[in-house]
Symmetry: C2
Subunit: 179 residues, 2 copies
Amino acid sequence: MIILVDQDGPLADFEKGFLDAWRTQFPNEHFVPLHQRRTFYVRDDYPKELRDKVESIYFAPRFYLNLPPVNGSLEALKMLVELGHDVRICTSPLSRYENCVLEKYQWVEKHFDRDFTKRIVLSKDKTIIRGKLLIDDKPVIEGGETAEWEHILYDCSYNQEVGNKKRLTWANWKDVLVF
Amino acid sequence: MIILVDQDGPLADFEKGFLDAWRTQFPNEHFVPLHQRRTFYVRDDYPKELRDKVESIYFAPRFYLNLPPVNGSLEALKMLVELGHDVRICTSPLSRYENCVLEKYQWVEKHFDRDFTKRIVLSKDKTIIRGKLLIDDKPVIEGGETAEWEHILYDCSYNQEVGNKKRLTWANWKDVLVF
């Protein structure tokens, strides 16, 4: 069974990486604690006048590479592979792709190994990628096709309003994914 | 209609880029003229003792970025888009991904524009990408799934032995792709 897993959110902790970098680089600016995050795009949770500063965090070299793994995510993915599933990391690059594209590969090699990078599928449009399931924190995933996969929501503070999808974290995935 | 187009071969002229760089960097070594290329992977057409030198050409920084476009390819792709087709650039990175991953994006931006990079799908396994057609110079394309697309062979000297597929070049594509 092909299981697609989004990278930023379910695997790489973009939210923690962003907030840590934000508080380090702009210690006197307003910040949104992790449990108070309400929008999918972090920039939309910050005042407009801070937009450039917010973007400077995740456009910076090494931001993506240095994201910490989400607790339990690496172990869960390895277990899914051991169970015989065809796991792919399905991730959309930023439109400003300069740093994130390469660093997404480097991140996977750093936390798994080089061979695991063969599982990466980079596409702005995830609806054209085949799979049985897509584990993704984005509330609604649109694209050019009607997706083949079922969207399993990776449970986050900013996607609580989505009511019609199964949701999981790496603490409860074995109960949610019943094969 | 989703039309997937491979990048190296149909769009970026890997063969010319390789041979030009080879003859510049190793002018006294044996070389294989373009019309005499017989294997899909260029390294397999060269003696084993030259393997490291061969690989040093395409692992080098800026090799992918500097590949010349195949004659007529850019115009054909733009025309396919104008005709209303959903064109995606479907490309497999090298396992040594360090330079080629980013440079594939930069190449598309250089020869089309930044917006066109949103059409890129990077995947080692093309069978999990959905589409009606895949235009690709690789003789046989395998992966984890039975592909949804029809493989249209991009006609090259090194894939002449494949007999059971439609083939095209950018000189005759309008006759081959009858929509």
